[in-house]
């Protein structure tokens, strides 16, 4: 299932798109189609539960693991909101031991990639999980949940149908080119489809086929890639100067960084929300990281003033060192930042460079090693003299 290997992401995409796939159509909108399908799977005892985005009240949305079929009404798996990175949530569920009964998990491509990174980091397990994902039109900022969501949805779905980019999307989604899931067993092709009327479901693995066997769907060979996917890829690439331009190296430096993070309140929400920032006791939260009297004195002697809370750049750059190799560009960090610092844009930009150096794309393949946890004997000879 996760056996594709290519040196570059482009090569990988080509390889992946060449895989032959089967598909079927359901004359219902995606969320309804999924509810039906999952209800049948639960009826037949093929899955014991469903993990998906759920509406839990008015303006309230969160991920939920549902085992009572009657509660399946609550799921809204394709609603463009991401209250948490689902990869991190599944890690919470499976960190101590794998789930015992099969569970259908519905998550976006970047969430699946985050989960695969977490598996490599020994923070999650995939056993007994059936992965359902979809070609992803992106998500809106979470605050939209209480602020005009219904109004924005119409425009959102219009863009998904035509392979466009909507202004309301998170910046990280505007530039995300990894919106076709890798490693899913079942994929809904939302991009390019009229999602008000019908749903196209692709089956990407034997596991997916096994689960769906016996359900009343008729499989046909999947058609060629939709033009809308290409359009979306192109439109997103075009957004890059706008989203990443402000982070050119010559714009940053000490001065640029202190300006960028000058209103950071040190809440560390960005790290807590980040799926691949996974330490349960964080160095930056530890007493060890507090300034002791002698450090305080040194700092004051050298600088004449001290910014409080301390260590803002130490935290931000430190986190870049730790997570850029695994960052999936999901945008959670920006979305939770109370002072609107575009954290995710900076992190995603650096993730591209750092991962690119090793020909790596975080989470594209659960079996691949994280570059910093492996090595070649003959390489990087220019480093270390």
């Amino acid at each position: 299932m996760h056996n594709a290997r290519g040196t570059t992401h482009e090569a990988y995409c080509v390889e992946r798109e060449a895989l032959s796939m089967k598909q079927f159509q359901v004359p219902r909108p995606p969320d309804d189609a999924l509810r039906d399908m999952l209800a049948s799977l639960m009826d037949k005892g093929k899955v014991g539960g469903v993990f998906a985005l759920a509406q839990t009240g008015e303006n309230s949305y969160s991920y939920a693991l549902i085992t009572d079929k009657k509660l399946l009404d609550h799921i809204v798996p394709t609603l463009p909101l991401m209250p948490a990175n689902a990869g991190k949530m599944v890690s919470r569920l499976t960190m101590l031991e794998p789930v015992k009964t099969p569970i259908a998990v519905i998550m976006r491509p970047c969430e699946l990639r985050a989960l695969f990174e977490l598996v490599k980091l020994e923070q999650a397990r995939l056993d007994n999980l059936l992965f359902i994902s979809y070609t992803c039109g992106g998500v809106l900022e979470m605050k939209t949940a209480k602020d005009g969501l219904q109004l924005k949805l119409e425009e959102y779905w219009k863009q998904v149908k035509t392979g466009g980019v909507s202004e309301d999307m998170r910046d990280s989604c505007r530039v995300c080119e990894n919106f076709v899931p890798t490693g899913a067993d079942i994929t809904l092709t939302l991009v390019g489809n009229d999602n008000g009327k019908q749903t196209t479901v692709q089956v990407n693995s034997e596991k997916g086929e096994e689960f769906l066997a016996g359900l009343s769907y008729e499989l046909t060979e999947a058609g060629p890639e939709l033009e809308a996917l290409d359009s979306m890829r192109k439109k997103r690439a075009e957004q890059k100067p706008d989203v990443f331009g402000q982070f050119a190296a010559e714009e940053l430096g000490m001065a640029g960084l202190t300006a960028l993070f000058g209103r950071c309140i040190g809440c560390h929400a960005c790290g807590r929300a980040c799926p691949v920032c996974y330490c349960s006791s964080c160095h930056f939260e530890a007493a060890e990281n507090e300034f002791d009297p002698s450090t305080l004195e040194t700092e004051l002697t050298n600088r004449g003033a001290l910014r409080l809370p301390t260590g803002t750049l130490y935290y931000q750059i430190g986190r870049l060192f730790h997570v850029s190799i695994s960052c999936v560009g999901c945008g959670m960090c920006s979305d939770v930042c109370p002072v609107d610092i575009p954290v995710a844009s900076l992190f995603a930009k650096l993730a591209g460079s750092v991962q690119g150096m090793f020909g790596y794309v975080s989470g594209r393949d659960a079996e691949e090693k994280i570059p910093t946890s492996t090595f070649e004997m003959e390489e990087l000879e220019e480093i270390g003299a």
Binding site: L257, T258, A305, I317
Partner: protein, 167 residues
């Protein structure tokens, strides 16, 4: 790096103002670079020791912090020294193939490539950070590395992070 000795040592001693070594920013005359060196116990620290006992000539610019292997150096160590105002940060370990723990320094090398990349992308001066391989018998080489690196840093001038106020 919870409760880590090396990080504490860095905080407590290395970066406190020391009499005799002052940067122009601190009101001194000639710029004397201050370099923090993380040296692996089995090779580079021994190499430094050899350079010392054989009285090789090298500038008194480096403060050594001993780590058990170069792979123990979390990029956070480098960053902490850098932000605290170290003019240069050296990480030194056994030559590839000679790590006391067999493969530690291969990981170091990848992690260091990442460290450099992040610094470059952030527009921070990656030339203030250096990785070198020095074996236990290479006292001369150690002196050369320190001399050369000190010269590079002298040309680059004091680390602006030293006087950046609100970071």
């Amino acid at each position: 790096m919870a409760d880590d000795g090396a990080a504490r040592q860095l905080d407590k001693e290395i970066l406190s103002p020391k009499p005799g070594i002052q940067s122009p920013a601190e009101g001194g005359g000639d710029f004397q670079p201050r370099i923090v060196g993380f040296l692996c116990n089995w090779c580079s620290y021994a190499g430094a020791d050899l350079a010392g006992v054989t009285r090789l000539k090298m500038p008194p610019s480096m403060v050594a912090i001993r780590v058990m292997c170069s792979s123990r150096v979390d990029p956070l160590f480098v960053l902490k020294a850098f932000l605290a105002g170290a003019d240069g940060v050296l990480v030194a370990g056994c030559h590839p193939g000679d790590c006391h723990y067999q493969t530690g320094n291969y990981y170091t090398r990848r992690r260091f490539a990442l460290t450099l990349k992040v610094l470059e992308e952030l527009g921070l001066e990656a030339n203030r950070v250096r990785l070198s391989w020095v074996s236990a018998s290479e006292g001369g080489r150690f002196a050369e590395v320190v001399t050369e690196f000190t010269e590079t840093i002298r040309k680059a001038g004091p680390n602006p992070a030293k006087t950046e106020v609100f970071l």
